[in-house]
């Protein structure tokens, strides 16, 4: 079977600095995979290169067998890979519902705003169905639909960002730092939601996390990144027992599992 996402020897540079130094990874449809590592390991750079925000200096990215290396973010969204960005990045002055609708609108974009609008208006019925489905999955968003997204709590904003990504009907949801700046209880709720989304809707997950415990709990497999390279990979259960991972990411052996 062709993997849903295949990254091969990806290199990302910012000028002379190398952020990602030849990373390869694979993810099958419906899988939950984590990318862990310390701050500055290159996790977000890797994710952003996959999503088309920067052009990689070398390497390949394939989505469902199609080479999308260096394609625009919009094209990658259309192929079914949508990112929930770090720090949520909601459209703060727009109502929650407008945030969600833009998730569906972006998919229609092929470089031209007016043409995209026409396509979007023609698909308005489908968009409405999708919106109802997202409200069903995240009822809180329905309550907040008229409120400017910037005036909701951090956890709610994370829901808005996830809902916006879901509006594009992704096959793979790439979540950058789900837990950043959120209370543990809120993170727990969101993590359970993502698991349900994966199990019931079959949406694959690529979770980029500094919180390794959360990543292992939610994901079946993980890649460990350090200084731009992949140093370890394997099933979460195995990595969790790995001495290196325990000392570096899970607070040594002190924590009782």
């Amino acid at each position: 079977m062709t993997p849903l996402l295949e990254v091969e020897g990806l290199v990302v540079r910012y000028g002379p600095a190398i952020a990602v130094d030849g990373v390869s990874l694979q993810l099958d449809a419906g899988e939950r995979v984590a990318l862990i590592g310390p701050n500055g390991a290159g996790k977000s750079s890797l994710l952003n290169a996959i999503c088309g925000l920067f052009k990689p200096a070398a390497g390949r990215v394939r989505v469902a067998g199609r080479d999308v290396t260096g394609h625009s973010p919009g094209e990658i969204v259309r192929l079914g890979v949508t990112q929930v960005p770090e720090g949520r990045q909601v459209f703060a002055t727009l109502p929650v519902e407008a945030n969600l609708l833009l998730g569906a609108f972006g998919r229609e974009f092929r470089g031209e705003l007016l043409a995209a609008t026409l396509r979007y208006v023609r698909r308005r019925g489908e968009v409405q169905e999708r919106l109802d489905r997202v409200y069903e999955l995240l009822p809180k968003l329905h309550e907040l639909r008229e409120r400017p997204a910037g005036q909701t709590s951090g956890g709610e904003q994370q829901m808005v960002a996830i809902g916006r990504a879901l509006m594009a009907e992704p096959r793979l949801l790439a979540v950058d730092e789900l837990s950043l700046g959120l209370a543990p209880l809120v993170v727990q709720g969101l993590s359970e939601f993502l698991r349900r989304l994966n199990e019931e809707e079959g949406v694959a997950l690529l979770l980029v996390e500094q919180n390794a415990a959360l990543a292992f709990e939610l994901c079946e497999r993980a890649y460990v990144l350090e200084a731009g390279r992949c140093v370890l990979e394997g099933p979460s259960a195995e990595l969790e027992r790995n001495e290196l991972v325990r000392t570096a990411y899970l607070g040594g052996g002190l924590e009782v599992a």
């Binding site: 625009s72 973010p73 609108f105 470089g111 609008t117 979007y120 594009a168």
Partner: protein, 289 residues
């Protein structure tokens, strides 16, 4: 008292035109972070094209509509140029590009329309007199069009998917790109809409203040000042800023005449000083609250 009301009435109408240009500035800056120096040129072109077509015996309304459409197309082109190449063109480079475009447009006007001011007749020669205050229909037209255009723009930004896309880009460029919006396309539409608004302002102002190839400097400064009143981002405050500026200028001219015959020369400078004070006062209030 009658004189004061008269000056305020004239100020509100010219101020409306400044408001439209100010809103155009704010719209572009908000969505693209570009300060568009060609904004005044859009307004002047609106006036020049209208005069050119009216001189060819076109009905004024048709001339105005075609002029606005032409300037809108010019605006879209300037937008495409100003955004440049993703990742390479910085906002500062874009600003210099718009400055260059403004000079090119001046030069082209000089070549095709000459160096004399142009005008066309206002919509009506009738004059209304209300308790000694003279109101020309053109004043009312400018104010009415400005109010309607501002309301329409606000409605588009708040209620339509295109508006959401424009606002989204100003809220978070990163997220706008990630959902699939193309910044270039958003910028082109923003420039086109801004050019449309400025062209309307320019052509409505032309019967009162004839346009010349270099009138864009004054219009751009006034429009920029109006936009600065709203921190270059608020459309509502740019609207208010334009009106305040228009009234301030008329008052300086009107009452300054009594003090020195050269008052008219200080019209712009005096109004800008008033504007600076107001902006300073507003930003002080903002930091306190």
């Amino acid at each position: 008292m009658t004189e004061f009301v008269q000056l305020v009435v004239i100020g509100l109408s010219t101020g409306s035109a400044f408001a439209l240009v100010g809103i155009s500035f704010a719209l572009i800056f908000r969505t693209t972070n570009i300060v568009n120096f060609a904004q005044g040129a859009f307004a002047v072109l609106g006036g020049q094209f209208t005069v050119w077509l009216v001189d060819k015996e076109w009905p004024t309304a048709a001339a105005a509509i075609v002029a606005v459409l032409l300037v809108t197309a010019v605006g879209a082109l300037v937008g495409l140029l100003a955004v440049g190449i993703r990742g390479l063109t910085t906002p500062l480079a874009s600003l210099v590009i718009t400055l260059g475009v403004a000079f090119v447009i001046q030069a082209l006007q000089l070549l095709s329309f000459g160096d004399r001011p142009h005008t066309y007749p206002s919509i009506s020669d009738r004059v209304w007199t209300v308790q000694g205050v003279v109101v020309q229909p053109q004043y009312v037209l400018i104010a009415a069009v400005t109010v309607v255009a501002t309301l329409l723009l606000t409605l588009v930004l708040r209620r339509t998917i295109i508006g959401y896309a424009l606002v989204a880009t100003s809220d978070s460029v990163r997220a706008a790109e990630l959902v699939g919006l193309s910044l270039r396309s958003v910028a082109v539409v923003t420039f086109a809409v801004s050019a449309l608004l400025s062209a309307i302002a320019g052509l409505l102002l032309t019967p009162i203040q004839p346009v010349n190839y270099d009138s864009d400097v004054g219009i751009a400064i006034n429009g920029f000042a109006a936009a600065a009143f709203g921190g270059l981002v608020s459309i509502r405050l740019a609207f208010v800023g334009g009106l305040v500026l228009g009234v301030a200028q008329q008052l300086v001219v009107g009452y300054g005449d009594a003090i020195t015959p050269q008052a008219r020369q200080y019209e712009l400078a005096a109004a800008l000083v008033i504007m600076l004070v107001l902006i300073g006062w507003r930003s002080r209030k903002e930091t306190v609250t």
